[in-house]
């Protein structure tokens, strides 16, 4: 692959804190290598800002290998930027051309308040898990790992749902700021396994209830979430959630 260098214009959302008024600032960066990751390009800009006595851009990031779910950002209108199935930290600069202007914003949703610049608060996701995203088994209570065989397809589908990294791109992508893809991935992960079956119906009801309390919007099946999900979580999980939810509502005594 041919490597090249580029000069870019960046329009970045700056906001001092949660309560401050934010706005876009424009920056120029030069000699950015196509081999850099997107975040390394921001590192270059931040080093320049620090050197000039300015305030570097705050952004969330940690593993930089696409698995921790910390990084976010809306890049040119798309959560995690232009590459399909890719987190911001795995996006590389060969996705851009010399002379381009890139617009960088935080994830936007009422349930994800901005803390500073591009950093948002996603604690609402932890609270949804607390409501029921688990199997109630204390340490030491387990039977042998092979005691209950699990159909390989169920195990594989469960794994596919469980590969959600909880980044919140689905919420940022949705015009209603719905968290249905995130919630349905967790409901599916656990409902597909025999170990998760006993709590199936209470789990889905409690998680949906908490999702509503957090102020996430309704799902209107536009599938923008699936299109932008860096782990390509399928909207089939939403169908499964709806089925589980309906079944649970017939279970009035639970």
């Amino acid at each position: 692959m041919q490597h090249y260098n580029m000069d870019l214009t960046l329009k970045v959302w700056r906001q001092q804190n949660r309560n401050a008024q934010g706005g876009f600032e424009t920056y120029q960066v030069k000699d950015i290598s196509s081999e850099m990751s997107f975040l390394e390009m921001i590192d270059v800009l931040n080093e320049k800002l620090i050197h000039e006595g300015g305030d570097p851009i705050a952004f969330d990031h940690d593993c930089r290998e696409g698995i921790c779910g910390t990084c976010s950002m809306v890049i040119d209108g798309r959560p995690h930027g232009p590459w399909k199935g890719t987190t911001t930290c795995q996006l590389h600069m060969r996705a851009f051309k010399n002379g381009e202007t890139i617009v960088i914003e935080p994830f936007r949703a009422n349930s994800f308040p901005v803390l500073k610049d591009l950093v948002v608060d996603r604690k609402a996701f932890d609270r949804i898990i607390q409501a029921g995203g688990f199997i109630s088994v204390n340490t030491g209570n387990a039977v042998d790992g092979n005691a209950i065989p699990i159909d390989k397809d169920d195990a594989d589908n469960s794994f596919a749902a469980a590969s959600c990294i909880g980044c919140g791109a689905c919420v940022a992508a949705c015009k209603n700021s719905s968290a249905m893809l995130f919630v349905s991935a967790k409901v599916s992960h656990l409902a597909l396994l025999p170990q998760g079956a006993p709590e199936k119906s209470t789990r889905v009801a409690a998680m949906v209830d908490q999702m509503d309390k957090e102020g996430f919007g309704s799902c209107t099946n536009t599938y923008a979430c699936e299109a932008e999900c860096p782990k390509e979580i399928s909207v089939m999980n939403i169908a499964r959630l709806n089925r589980e939810y309906l079944a649970s509502s017939f279970n009035a005594d639970k």
């Binding site: 804190n17 290598s33 698995i67 199997i135 109630s136 387990a142 042998d144 699990i150 390989k152």
Partner: protein, 656 residues
Amino acid sequence: MPDAKIPAGPLETKWTKYKSSVRLVNPSNKRKIEVIVVGTGLAGASAAASLGELGYKVKAFCYQDSPRRAHSIAAQGGINAAKNYQNDGDSVYRLFYDTIKGGDYRAREANVYRLAEVSNNIIDQCVAQGVPFAREYGGLLSNRSFGGTQVQRTFYAAGQTGQQLLIGAYQAMERQVALGTVEMFSRHEMLEVVVIDGKARGIITRDLVTGKVERHFGHAVLLCTGGYGNVFYLSTNAMGCNVTAAWKAHRQGAYFANPCFTQIHPTCIPVSGDHQSKLTLMSESLRNDGRIWVPKKQGDNRIATEIPEDERDYFLERRYPAFGNLVPRDVASRAAKERCDAGHGVGTSKQAVFLDFADAIQRYGKAEVSKRNLGQVDAVSVTQLGKEVIKEKYGNLFDMYEKITGENPYVVPMRIYPAVHYTMGGLWVDYELMTTVTGLYCLGEANFSEHGANRLGASALMQGLADGYFVIPYTIGNYLADEVGKSHISIDHPGFMEAEKKVSKHLAELMKINGKQSVESFHKRLGKIMWDKCGMARNAEGLKQAIQEIRALKKEFWSDLRIPGKIDEMNPELDKAGRVADFLELGELMCIDALERNESCGGHFREEYQTSEGEALRDDAGYMHVAQWEYFHDQWKLHKEPLNYEVVKPSQRSYK
């Protein structure tokens, strides 16, 4: 010398006997006892969940925005357990033996045996929590091989095993949050241990959103804060991984053990330029199917697929026929470095070797043809079928490789090079996981205990979960039984007030340097010194130079650092500055430890001590001990814990 408190009796019965005689805390008393857990990776989350389930009042802290993001999540390949589901001769003893040998006879027998014993409980627990491990068509759990073993004992979930295990532990912990037994503080960094009357009684933290410095009480404090590989700047660790919690504990009296024992992982994506901010691992599981080679000719610039078979050197298979590509990490890393240093490296930097899947693709393709009974099939279809199998096994890793390098590893071999990955050293702990500060425990990668001088693949996840789920819930009771009836110490106690003052002073000192250079630039320079002189190969001369260079760099840091912003706000530059300040001190200690250990063992390779074949040459008479460093006013005093091998007979490690 601190007592390691290893129970008496035969190796096989030590843990069982300990468990049945250890003191207990009754349930109504547990409710009155508070435990602080710092770090929410596999060790921390599993400990917080288990202690919460037992009824203790737990406060858990992490610097990330959610406990689910701790760097355990990035572990790819798998977790070991001695289940022997494959009927291939595995046992608790064999897992114990492989781990001791893999660690080059520098780990404690009793700890490692306990780890092997509880390994099976971990798998059971994780399955019960809903961890979706890979399964066979019959519905049973699947296994694969990892380095340094000749059995298949590694359980996995594609290339995302760490993620799945962490989510399991995280969910168990969030369940306790909902039940009110665990209180979670995310975006909080621990900046001091509070020691009152010789016992750890709490911590001082900084809220990374508001910048507020806070005091927290606990009857006991658990540090589960991971390894310190980021001292090298470039490593496979997450950007935020740091030594700060462990280092503050060290400065409060906790001994630091074997700091120079660093694991350099053989299969990482090579550095592409000066802009590089971190390195990405390609899982060891790839060595199940990938073959490592370099061109036989020096400086061969042809592309890989144009180099004929007889002009390739599969150097691991050549040097270590018994284990081949699955030798332990330290051995594989050194062998790759040796070939590159000898002029056989590939790629533009020449600091890389090939990891090639072409053979595996053909082998799997043919197997699919026969499995599906397809009869005569053309070569293109065989290749296609083989690629599908490889995709199922390692798809996410191949995708990640392509995103980073822009090359398609299904078509051309991967280019890989060793990188800093894990630290075997850490805070010294006794058999109960307590440090030399009473009431202060250390779990997971942050402690030193199980892996000796080299960790085997798929054993870090095992240790983190063993410590959190199955060891600390027992051993902490032995200490807390004495705490029953002792009341909560007010956070207005002078001990807390002084600790808070110290932290605030440290933060203010960092801010007021007001120099010109960024934290990042200092960190990079420290990393280069460490990698060049305390990395894959070390020698006395280089280490002495490194110590001087680090001292000079530390001076420069404290006189020319520039941190923008303020203390009482979200300030990632200030967060990083505190971490790098601690790395500068740790780096010096690592070099001192490496210089003191006049032998080669595991990941610690002193060039002066090698066999005629270039293998690590141990000195058991002189160095069969754990080096324990005690901090004393910017200097260190060395103590030694002798290692007694009662069951395994140490010998020159051979994987030939």
